[in-house]
């Protein structure tokens, strides 16, 4: 789950992580009010959408840039009026863009140094790792590639947590000395507490900045939360903004289906995540292009198959469907009835190839053959993939 920038700042405030003063606004009037409550210096106004590249984006009304600096609260109001309710297109939103509902108004800061600080759970060692670098504000992957010596990796004992001496090691490696060391120790400790207490899988502060007047603060942050832990994080769940999510994925999650939309035109419906990924791969291997990842779960009930069909068919780019089910414990005949019902109910008019294997598979195949539906059976996964690719190309 992702959150907005202003929500990240609210989390920082809750945990005592220093950040630039400012607040979210829903209207131009509110933006003016927020701005007039801030300090005398320059102000920054930022469109709130999940996608990156906001500063270089363009609104569909022609207004350039989702991030602007200004001097007065009246100017902040004017900028807000050009952003709120408008659609912002960035390199991450795709050409359709995202409507901006809220903006963040904050005090602009004069930056002396840009640093990088992140905490994530390292799979190889199964413990949290702090990653820090003097090279902030840029792509950290590129830094890791070109100059790995500029990156500090510090493992944390999960039972001890981030120790004060470790915060000093990090601060020292970032050249944060004197009064900045104390600020850093506090910021790192609080951020670690936030990471643990809110079940994050990653917190990335980029950049962490030192201002020209000697303050250390988190200027921008990216959070990833562990979906498995959301049941015990009601305050994080409340931050979910479903307008930022793919509506097909939102609908699928209501039916306990695991769906991810892709760009191709051959939809697939599979039981099990590994097999679902492998099915996407084999569609491409056969010369086609997968429209989605869809795991109906190891069980694959009749109702789930029907909901899956509706979600797949709501996507107008879909020109064919490949169903790939290994019915280990589930009865293939029950699944076959589910497929037939769903296809009839949705008035299926595009090619459908079904590959069934497993428990009671012969009865299942008979059910499909005698259904009167226009469908093909695949002998194995490769055969099924080749058949659906051929059918879509012929259509």
């Amino acid at each position: 789950m992702n959150i907005h920038e202003f929500q990240a700042r609210e989390l920082f405030a809750e945990f005592g992580v220093a950040t630039q003063p400012g607040r979210v606004a829903n209207t131009p009037e509110e933006a003016e009010k927020v701005a007039s409550g801030l300090g005398k210096g320059k102000l920054v106004v930022k469109a709130q959408i999940h996608a990156g590249g906001r500063g270089k984006g363009t609104f569909k009304n022609g207004f350039k840039g989702g991030v602007h600096l200004c001097d007065t609260s009246a100017e902040a109001r004017d900028l807000a009026s050009k952003m709120i309710g408008q659609v912002l297109v960035t390199h991450q939103t795709g050409p359709e863009g995202k409507e901006v509902g809220k903006i963040f108004v904050g005090e602009a800061v004069d930056i002396a140094r840009e640093l990088y600080f992140a905490i994530l759970i390292d799979r190889a060692t199964s413990v949290p790792v702090v990653i820090a670098s003097t090279e902030g504000g840029v792509d950290i992957e590129a830094v890791a590639e070109k100059s790995p010596e500029k990156i500090l990796r510090l493992p944390v004992n999960p039972f001890l947590g981030l120790m004060p001496y470790q915060t000093r090691i990090i601060a020292s490696s970032l050249g944060l000395t004197g009064p900045l060391m104390n600020q850093a120790a506090k910021l790192f400790a609080n951020l670690y507490r936030l990471f643990i207490e809110r079940d994050c899988s990653m917190v990335e502060v980029n950049p962490l900045v030192v201002t020209t007047d000697g303050r250390l603060m988190a200027l921008d942050a990216k959070f990833n939360f562990d979906d498995n832990a959301l049941y015990r994080q009601p305050s994080i769940v409340a931050m979910r903004d479903i307008t930022e999510e793919d509506p097909r994925e939102v609908e699928a999650s209501k039916h306990s289906l695991n769906y991810i939309g892709l760009d191709g035109n051959i939809a697939c419906l599979v039981n099990g995540a590994g097999l679902a990924m492998a099915t996407m791969d084999i569609i491409q291997h056969a010369g086609g292009s997968p429209a989605n990842f869809l795991d109906v779960g190891g069980g694959a009930s009749r109702e789930q198959v029907a909901s899956a069909f509706r979600i797949i068919l709501a996507d107008t780019r879909v020109k064919g469907i490949l169903v790939n089910i290994f019915g280990g414990i589930m009865d293939c005949d029950v699944i076959a009835h589910g497929i037939v019902e769903a296809a009839k109910e949705t008035g299926l008019s595009i090619p459908l190839v079904v590959r069934l294997e497993g428990n009671n598979v012969d009865a299942g195949k008979k059910t499909l053959e005698s259904s009167g539906l226009k469908l093909e059976s695949g002998q194995n996964i490769l055969d099924a993939a080749q058949k659906i690719v051929a059918a879509v190309k012929a259509a």
Binding site: I121, R123, A124, S126, V127, P128, E141, N157, P158, F159, I196, D199, S201, D226, D227, N228, A229, Y231, R232, N258, I260, L262, V270, N271, G272, A273, G274, L275, A276, M277, A278, T279, M280, D281, I282, I283, Q284, H285, P290, F293, D295, G298, F326, G328, I329, E357, G358, N359, N380, I381, L382, D383, A385
Partner: protein
Amino acid sequence: MSILVTPDTKVLIQGITGSFGARHAKLSLDYGTKVTAGVTPGKGGQLFENRVPIFDTVDQAVRETGATVSAVFVPPPFAADAILEGVAAGLELVVAITEGIPVMDMMRVKEAMKGSKTRLIGPNCPGLVTPGSGEKSHGGCRIGIAPGYIHKKGNVGVVSRSGTLTYEAVWQLTTRGYGQSTCVGIGGDPINGTSHLDVLKMFNEDPETEAIIMIGEIGGTAEEEAAAWAAEHCRKPIAGFIAGATAPEGRRMGHAGAIVSGGHGTAASKIAALRAAGIEIAETPSDMADALIRRMKR
């Protein structure tokens, strides 16, 4: 021999009275697995299916029945506690089937298990099967949720992160006449108890295992590590398959661990690592058993 469990292994099931646990406990009993105890706090003294005694604690179940292995079916909020209860009771092996355990919980479980003699498999895994010698491999040890009948007693070891891909591989082997020593699903979570490498080492030492299928997927570097070890030390032919070549970066593909980020954990890098280690690559999931047969004849 097989690895980890034999048809004589005494198994206990934590969460035996929940609908999920009960269903699969029954299927394991039907398969001929020695399910000797169940654990559900508050239901001690009752019987499951009129024959398996239920205990309040794992410790009691172990003392009274001599069970050495547990399958954990309890819901995610209580699963970490259930795993550690099995560890505290001195079990040899805990197999965590539960899907959806918070990663922070698993991090603490791993740390708490350091130095213990218990091995953990999973979580979020289909479990493991050592096939028996009866009809449709009846009489084997089935721990978890895999369909028992698709197996056949034999000499191929299978290790995988994914459930249904494991069943595909097993079914392909069985229908081609190749039986299995043990099939292990290690689970799709980013933090798990047993890695591909751990299982490869066990297969390498197991006299009954003559060849190995290793199934991986995008995310992490566990497959690369296993391949690097195999290149130096594994004496047995291996075939490999990696799922997720078409998965977009930054999206979690069903399994919490199946995610490509920052260009790491891609299918291409894993396939290259497997090839470099002399592992025969299955180009598609239909090709897993055939790839192994090619490799065995090479």
